[in-house]
Amino acid sequence: MEEIFGHPAVQGGVAPFVVGLIVVLLLQSLRLGGLAVVAAFATAVYFVAGFTFTPLTATRKIILLGLFSPVIGILADFAFKPTRIGAAVFALAGAAAALWVFWPVVSQKDAAEAWLLGGTAAVTVAFMVGFGQMFLAEHAVRAGSAGLGVGLGVGIASILSATATYGLYGIAVCAGAGGFLLVQMIRGKTIAAGATFTLPAMLIAGLVGAGAMVLAKLPWYALLVIALVPVGARLPVPEKAPLWLQAVLLSLYSLSIAAVACALAWPT
């Protein structure tokens, strides 16, 4: 059993997918199926590093923010109507989160590199979180496809950048989003995504990607391409097409952009 749960494919893929799927099935009726992403992420954290938070490293800050983000997401979904201002606030909060995580590290580098890395991290996370809230939160299939794309993109790009831990965290986001999407595809009905889904998915994926840039070898321009992955999930699909087909097409769009990011992360 120890060998099974010690395998990276189980830690980052299979176990998070199963947990995410269970969460969707159990909580979709409460409009909380979007918790699949954070459940999948927490599962990977449990197996890979555990829930230790001292000293508070950048990675542990990412985990803390990831675990806390659904609280904000649920509040936003149940207490507020989605607005442009709300999305802008989310984006600013995302940028602030990125700076909280990475500025203590990048500020030790020379000024030009610090601004490049810190700025790229802040812009990426802000864009992903803001875009997710603005354009994806109300569209569960698009949100699921975007989560699938950013998770897999960040995961593979992180592994190519020499950090398997971040790779597994990214793939866990993909697994959670996959479970969320799969239930919709099988049932042919959408389930509520909202900020409960998009905030953790975009925040975790953005921060993990930024971590792979700051702490490992991911090129900054590859991270900017990862930021564009959710845009793929906004591309048009035949509205009358079956839901599973829409999900497949939107996932392909997202994954195509993610593939470009991975190609840019390819070590030379």
């Binding site: 120890e2 060998e3 010690g6 395998h7 990276p8 890979v48 590093a49 555990g50 230790t52 000293p55 490293t57 950048a58 990675t59 590290v105 190519l160 950048s161 020499a162 950090t163 398997a164 831990t165 971040y166 971590g211 700051v214 702490l215 490992a216 070898k217 390819w266 070590p267 030379t268």
Partner: protein, 196 residues
Amino acid sequence: MTRLTTGLIAIMLPLAAAAQVESYAIDPHHTVPYWETNYLNFATMRGRFDSATGMFTLDRAARTGTLEITIQTANLSTGAGRTLKRTRDEHLRTPDFFNVVEFPTMTYSAKSVKFKGDDPEVIEGSLTLLGVTNPVALKVERWRCGPDPRTAGKIYMCGGNATGSFKRSDFGMKFGLPTAIGDEVSLWISFFGFRQ
């Protein structure tokens, strides 16, 4: 007169004691920490940090001493070369293992050294790695002091090897546990220092 003598003795005693404490600056070119751990239960993976800096002191009369070593974690090498697109050393520098961007150094600090006869035998110190400090004892082997033959005896030096082990999980380094990469890490440090 008696008071004056007593006063002088009181002043001189600590100075005399201080004079017995010898300080040595560690030679970064010849002080190399090596480590090894189990890999996939098939092989033993070895690596080294290319240099270390620090000081140690010896109080031969009191049979004790101190040690401070700072290791630049980015200077690690496992001989992986560029046979892979991403080398093992690059992986070891990421947050999966040594997280060198956030923790560019690891330190070993000891305030107590146990002697056996005239030679140090066990260094009782603590290792700070990834921001976590835990006690790690090092056993001293092949200890020797004497004039540096390269300087016709102008410089006096002491050196030896120190070995020990720790569990990396105690420092929060958990990637690859429990099956892929061993938890137990053995240390083997060759070192010497020049008397100041």
